[in-house]
Each structure stands twice: as C-alpha cells, then as structure tokens.
Amino acid sequence: MKRRSIVKYAAVAAALSLGVTACGGGSGSSDAKTSGTVRVTLANHVWTDGIKAAIPEFEKATGLKVELTQLGEDQLSDQYNVKLNAGSDEIDVMMYRPLQEGKAFAKNGYLADLTSKVSADSNWDWKDYQDGPVKASTVDGKVVGVPIITEREVLYYRKDLLAAAGVQVPKTMDELEAAAKKISASNPDTAGFVARTGKSAAVTQFSSFLYSFGGDFVDASGKSAVGSDAAKKAYSFYGGLIKNYGPKNVSTDMSWPEAMAIFTQGKAAFYTEADSLYKNATDPAKSKVSDKVGFAALPAGPAGSKPYNIPSWGLAVNKASSNQDNAWKFIQWATSKDRTLAAQKAGVPGPRASVWADPAGTSTYPQDLADAIAASAKTGVGHDRPEVVTVGKAREIVGAPIVATITGADASAAADTANDAFQKFLDSEKK
C-alpha cells in the first residue's frame, strides 16, 4: 500500500512540474483544432492596423475565430526565438521579416512549406507577385512565406529649404553632397543630411549607396566584398555625409525612429529612408514639416541609381501548428488583391504587380513618391542586407565601417578589417 501511494504522489508531483513548465506554453492547443481558432502573431505596423480592423469580415465569412497577438519588432523576434525554439504550436500565422529571419527560420524548420498552397488558387494568383519579393520568400526552392509589405529606399527632402538655397532636387550622389553642403552652411541649426547611424540599423539604408557605387556585400563567387574599392567609396560617402553635414553631436545608435524624428522636427534637409515609412513625414500629427516634404528616387552613384527593392515583411505558417489549413485561409484572405489594395491605399506599399498597375493603387500617394517608387522598382536590387543565416551578426560586421566613418575614422582601414571579419563569418556559415 505504502509503495503504491508513493508512486501516486510522485506522479502528481511530476504532473505538477510539467504543468508549471507548460505554463509559459500553450493552453488550449486542442481547442484550436476543434473550435477553428487561428492564432495570428503580427508586428506593430500600419499594415497590421488595417488588418485588425478588417478581421471581423474574415471571421464572418469563414466562421473561424482569430486570436491576434501584436508586438513590437524586437519583442516579436524574441517571442519567435523562444516559442518556435520550443516547438510550440500556439502560433499559427506569423508575420516575419523574410530577409532578416527567413533563412534562419527555414533552416531551423520553423516554417511550413507553402509551395503547393500558393499555386493551388488561381484567383488568389501567386503569379501576380513581383519577382524580388517572391525570391526572398523562397528558400531552397520552397515557398515559405507570402510577402505583404515591400520597401525601396528613396530620398526625402525639404522643398522649402531647397528652394531657399536655390538648389535642384539632386539626381546624382555628387549633387546630393553639394546640396547638403550648401544648405547646412547657410542654416547652422539644420543638418544638410540625416540617415540611420546605428551599426546594425544603418546597414539596410547603406546598402543602396553600396549598390549605387557599384559594390555589394558578397561578390559573384560568394566571397566578402565589403573591402572592395566600390564599398570603401560607399562607406566613405555615406559616413562622410553624416559626419560633415549631419546633425551636431550625432548619435551612433540611430535607427529610423530617431533619424525620422530629426527630419520631421525640421532639423534636416535630406534624409534617405524606406518609402514605406513616408506617412511619418507627411502626417501632420507626426511631422512638423508635413507640407514641405518632397520625395525623389535615390540619387545615382557611379553605377547608377540602385536602391534596394525588398519585401520587408511576410506572413508564414508555423510548421508545428496543428491548424495549418485554417492558417492558410487567413493568409489567403489577408493577402488577397482587395486587401492588398486597401493596405496600399492606407500607405503600405504591397508586393502585387496588379495593384501597382491599378491607378487606385497609388491614388493616395504623393505624386513624386509614386514616381520615385516606380523608378526604384525598375532598377532595384532584391536584398538590403547580407543574404546569410545569422543576419544579426552579419549586419554588425558590415555595419562597423559605417559607424567608424561617421566618427571620423578612416573608411578604408575599417572596411579592410570588416572584410576579413566578414569573410571569416561567411566561412563559418558554410560549415
């Protein structure tokens, strides 16, 4: 009798401890199967706001219930790292960054293969998607995500400051530098140019400069190319613009919120940034200069104007989810032509060619921005950061010369150091 009760209590204790460990994990995974609840995790974004408002339509049409979790960008990454690592099935649909996490997630087996699903419905039309975004959502020949938001780097500028200084909208990098120099010289409180300065954050916006100077992160043979002459010139130009004509006491930790704040506070004449963030500059509630902002395609460097043209966000299905069919239904609805058009009208550039071809698709955009986007889509490059598995680490390596140049170090030496480190990193990834 005694032995049996001990066994019994040990079992209870074990069940209890399991219960404790499962606390962080999911309750009700079986509910999801039977009740038709789709658990969707999205990032804070204008796109998400639009979808959130439209979810009742989806619930009504399908009879499914949507459980939405919305998180900031960094928290979202951390959540995925924890939950997907644990093999949790409590996420069905996940918003992710194809170029940042796509390869790593696919390699770790977190993303369900959607290849057969995307081609099954001709009405939904996978062929309508632009090539760049499709390529970025495909890993080893398998479609693992559906792009939802695309971005290109464009030039934001202050119409009033340019007019006052009597300069034209710059068409080349040299003109940009001359204009920034002229404006900052005549307006001591205003910077000629501002852009991201954080080692990691700046990499994506620097990439367009790198391409326009004729460089790339990796060359055709797969070797590190951040030490090439073109790359050195690009580092020196981007860092030099900020060092010489940027804000005084410039921080070397700026991502877009900080850099955008300087521009929208009226403290800078030029700003290069992703077009998908344009509402921050043109919305009077967020910007002091909302009526004075102009847009242009990225000025041309020695190799022409080559901004990135990438899908910044996509939707994927968690491979461990037991609710994959319903998850796909949600994605299909959220990425339909109608929804994409609605999102694009709300200021979120989408990946569908038909929506860009439709005049309604750009009807809400400032005309100069729509022109800049159209020009960038033609010459754009499909990546804005090194295409590797551990993108976070790669960004820190290739971003180091940017920060070094901003703080006055020699771009060439910094690029050589970064080149060695990046080559080592690439070798380690091949293993």
Binding site: D74, A86, G198, S251
Partner: protein, 325 residues
Amino acid sequence: MSVLNNSRGDTARDTTRDAARGASRTPGPRKNFSAWANRHRKWLFAAPAMIFVGVLIVFPLAWTIYLSLTDSQGSVRAASEFVGLENYLTVLSDVERFWPAVGRTLTFTGVALVCEVVLGMGIALLLWRPFRGEKWVRVAILLPLVATPVAVGMMWRLIFDPNIGFVNQLLGMIGIPPQPWLSGQDTALGTTIFMDIWQWTPMVVLILLAGLTSLSEEPDEAARMDGANAFQRFFFITLPLMMPTVIVAILLRGIDALKTFDILYATKGKGGGSFHEVETLNVYAYGLSFDYNQYGLSSAVLILFFMIIIITMWLLTMRKKAVSK
C-alpha cells in the same frame, strides 16, 4: 462513492455504513493518507518549495551547463554535438567582446555600488533624526525605486538626447557646449551608471536607515560626553556598528547591479550600442542567444558570469562573517 450509492436509491443506509466504517474498522484511503503524511511530513511540507526549486532553478541551470558543452546554434532542437570545454576556451580567449564586457560589468557594478553606498549613507544619516516634513521627504526619495526600469531608461534617454534633450539645453544656458551623453563612445557607460545610481540609491537608503534606527544610542552619547566631534563619532562609532548592515546592502545591491539589463537595453539596444560601449556580460549573453542564436556559446558566457557572481558574493559573505566576529 456517494454518487454511486445514490444511483442505487438507498442513500440513508449507505451513509450510516460509510460513517461506521470511517470511524472504526479497516483504514479508509483518507486515513491511510493521513498516516502516510504524518510519517513523511518533513518531506511533504517541503515538497512545494523543492518542486519549485527543482523546476525553476536546478533544471534550467543544469540545462544551461549542458548547452554550454555543446555547439548548439540556430535552434535548440536542432542536432548539436558535444564539444566539451571548447565554448569556454573560445569565450575566455575572446578579447574583442567577452573581456571588455567583463570589464564593463565590473566597472558598472563597482562605481555604481560605491556611489550608491556613500550617497545612501549620507542620505540615511540626514533622515535618521526626526524633522518636520520627514514623511514627505522619505516618500519623495523612494519614488525612483518604484519606477519601471525600462520607463526610466526611456525617460533618461529623452533627457540626455544630444540634440533636443533637457540636460544639454540646461548646460547651454550656462555656456557649456552640448555633450554626447548616452551617444558618446566614452560617456555612455558613465551616463548609464548615473541612471543606476539615481534609481537604486533609495534602496540603499532604506536598508541603511533600518540599520541606523536599530542602533542603540549609548555608545554615541558616551563618545559625545568624551568630547568626540561629529566626524569621530561617525567614523569610530556609527560606521563600525553599521558595518554588518552596510555589507548586507552591498550584497543585495551588488548582485542586482551585476545583472543589470533593463536600463542598458532600453537606452542602447542590442549589443550595447554601435561600439558595444555599454555591453555588459548580461547584454552580451542576450545578444549571443537572441541575435546570433549561438546557444552553446551564450550558455558558456552565462555560466562564467554565474561563477563571477558566486565568487564575488562568497568574498562578501566571508567579509561579513569577519566583521560580525
């Protein structure tokens, strides 16, 4: 059992029988349990705590030690190989990130701790004797303590902003040129230390004040009679008597300061800034696991960090024992 009996419809008879059986004859399951529980009560009462410690402390620690001996990366569920102490060798020979992070962790903790204890002692001495409005002053001093660290980080980030921040505007009024503060390569760590001091000195005050109020007045009075001045009374009477309390304060605050993460992350983000200027061991380990997904390496850093904390605390406890004697 009663439900089963009810279905047969003769409730009254069964209830009596149950009662009779429970009272005297063969031991029922309940009695059996009480007897068992009685025999094992020391284990039973300790069980919740033991399960808690096992699940939330021992298991994670053991798992981290295990991970630190593998080359786990990408996903912890992916196949990983046992690599022995290789991760530790890699980490210990890393002069670019690891050792500077150790230096920063110790600088941060050391400087913050000294300032907090000295300031805390000063403030505690001021609040020791009753005065008018004492209650309000005490409440006001405790305010930083109850603020959320991330919110504190955001607040100071705005105050210290090099371009639009309040501090630089204030300095501008008295003719001092703007300083980079959090964004400066050399000033960032100092600025975060200042934030830590601002937030955590009140806790030290609280502990020391509790110690001061429990001191007996006689030695102080006797010294006064003998003509000792205020300095002499503090350094030769109050401080030695307060030493055990001071060490408790150092111990508690020291552990906390060593593992500071929130204000550093809130003000400088991943990697502790573009030059890793505020990257302490905690921030480094976070970056290794959440940004680089190198769980083996990250676990090795954490285990080494754990050992640093244990050794520091052991030294302090030794010191406390010596003082108590």
